[in-house]
């Protein structure tokens, strides 16, 4: 019955108990980037060839959050039946960048408050017959057992 646990996207995050997002750091400007494999942003005037691979820190402060009550369109793989889900925006303390992620299952969004400490965990995004596809999610730091 146990399915293979695979990342929903290869090379974006580690799969350990304390998962980290895999990004890059520019040693000259001190700026961080995530994800590392997509050219999403640059510090202007700094040479991108000097970027170093780095695992980002996994804690930060809740910037905001919202619960979606309607089924999103594809390519979102929605559970059947559809269930509302919460998206949280967390500002990583060290990297000072906001990263969106779904709220980990079992957390009541009514317990959230802007500014609270959050940490990165892994959770199921969707499943097929063989695999469980996991992605990063956020949960309050106080929820750690």
């Amino acid at each position: 019955m146990s399915k293979k646990r695979v990342p929903a996207l290869e090379g974006w995050f580690t799969l350990d108990d304390e998962p980290r997002l895999l990004g890059r750091r520019d040693p000259k400007s001190g700026s961080y980037f995530f994800p590392k494999d997509v050219s999403v942003s640059s510090a202007p005037g700094f040479d991108q060839s000097e970027l170093e691979d780095v695992a980002l820190s996994r804690t930060g402060k809740l910037w905001s959050y919202t619960t979606n009550h309607y089924e999103p369109p594809e390519p979102y793989v929605k559970p059947d039946p559809f269930e509302p889900y919460t998206v949280a925006a967390v500002e990583l303390t060290e990297e000072r960048m906001v990263v969106l992620g779904q709220l980990a299952p079992g957390i009541d969004p009514a317990d959230l408050e802007v500014g609270m400490e959050m940490e990165l965990v892994l959770g199921t995004l969707y499943e097929d017959d063989e695999n469980e596809y996991v992605v990063w999610k956020w949960q309050p730091a106080s929820a750690a057992a």
Partner: protein
């Protein structure tokens, strides 16, 4: 008088709705209305700037040519422009700079769209290098998700309430009810808004902008041409801002799932959303205190409150007070979204920034009927297209 002024000789729109017809039809209707308003013939037009639609196949990607052909080829140059919600301003800027460069006297700016039902969705396929695809795949982050994030933050930071958000929708519904071009001509009470289904908490169905069909067009000219044409007193475009963010941009914007990092380089003094109207004020040589009215992009009711602050009507955290005091309703100190805004229109992406300009033009000409802002002289539009497109236009009396 600013050296960058151009005259608005005519404006025209096709009513917003869910008509399901070819977008070209709406655009042609709008061009014909704008030309009639300008008292000009199509053959006098020397340049067409089209706003692209990405939902209607190839003709939508080459909108300038599509509309020129539909009006009847006359051999004039065209441009086709895309900047998501800011498309109309980009098209206007293409036409305005051509006039200011002395390369032509009269130009048409046009945008129109036919939209599918429901949420706007990314392009098809396994697009793992496309942030727009990834945000749906990995997070289910629809557009309303972002609106919900901003709204919740206002509640936790500034004490905004669900009642405030419903108030915005109710206010704009009273503004737009008499607008012949609006799609939703119905007055909503706050109670009705608060009884509508939750979409992206704390935002409800009636507070989130729909997608609509519609078309808008503007005829602009050099001031010399306007004078010779007997339209020396026509309203003027006094500024067009099409700014992009400055690194590090620390505000989480559609379609991104991360912001820039502020760990290394200093955050700019003015954030992206504040910089949009600021650049327009600088160019026009005016400030928010000079405004008679504003048309801002209320993709959600709560987002209108953010714009009050971003365009300098008040300091951060004070938007709710402006709203509650009635300052931003018609008859108040600085009416916002007298047209009814997106709440009454729904979004027809390439036409929407032009719709804002049409409204300012009618208001400044004193032709806005029941929704007229008395003594309107100067107005501003503000809007933002995803992937970092700022859009703000200042229109003033001639």
């Amino acid at each position: 008088m600013s050296k960058n002024d151009v005259a608005i000789l005519g404006v025209g729109m096709h009513p917003w709705g869910k008509w399901g017809r070819n977008f070209v039809e709406y655009g042609v209707h709008a061009i014909q209305a704008a030309l009639a308003d300008a008292k000009l013939d199509w053959k006098q037009v020397e340049f067409v700037a089209g706003g692209d639609t990405v939902r209607n196949g190839y003709p939508g990607y080459v909108a300038g040519a599509t509309f020129a052909k539909a009006m009847g080829w006359t051999g004039i140059p065209v441009s086709s422009n895309y900047a998501a919600c800011a498309t109309g301003s980009q098209a206007l800027e293409a036409a305005r700079t051509r006039i200011l460069a002395g390369m032509c006297d009269v130009a048409v700016v046009v945008g129109a769209d036919t939209t599918p039902k429901g949420f706007l969705a990314p392009s098809k396929g396994e697009r793992t290098l496309d942030p727009d695809w990834l945000r749906f795949r990995l997070l289910g982050a629809t557009n309303p998700t972002y609106f919900g994030l901003y709204a919740r933050r206002r509640m936790d930071l500034y004490g905004a309430t669900e009642q405030d958000f419903a108030h915005v929708k109710a206010k704009n519904s009273r503004h737009g009810v008499s607008n012949p071009y609006a799609r939703y001509k119905k007055i909503f009470t706050e109670e009705e808004v608060l009884a509508s289904p939750m979409v992206a908490d704390p935002l409800r169905l009636f507070e989130i902008c729909a997608t609509s069909d519609g078309g808008a067009a503007i005829v602009i000219s050099s001031l010399d041409f306007a004078k010779k044409h007997g339209a020396g007193k026509a309203p003027r475009v006094a500024a067009v801002s099409t700014v992009t963010p400055t690194f590090p941009d620390t505000y989480i914007d559609m379609p991104n799932f991360t912001t820039d990092s502020a760990a290394g380089l200093p955050i700019p003094d003015r954030g992206f959303k504040d910089s949009i109207a600021h650049a327009a004020y600088e160019e026009a040589g005016i400030g928010p205190e000079d405004l008679s009215l504003a048309e801002v992009y209320d993709l959600s009711s709560a987002l209108e409150l953010d714009w009050y602050e971003n365009i300098g009507l008040c300091k951060p955290g004070e938007a709710e007070r402006l709203l509650r005091d009635g300052d931003t309703a018609i008859g108040g100190r600085i009416p916002v979204n007298a047209s009814g805004g997106l709440g009454c229109f729904g979004e027809a992406v390439p036409a929407q920034a032009l719709q804002q300009i049409c409204e300012l033009t009618w208001q400044i000409r004193g032709e806005a009927g029941e929704r007229q802002v008395q003594g309107a002289k100067i107005g501003i539009t503000a809007n933002q297209g995803l992937f970092g497109h700022g859009s703000s236009v200042i229109v003033k009396a001639g």
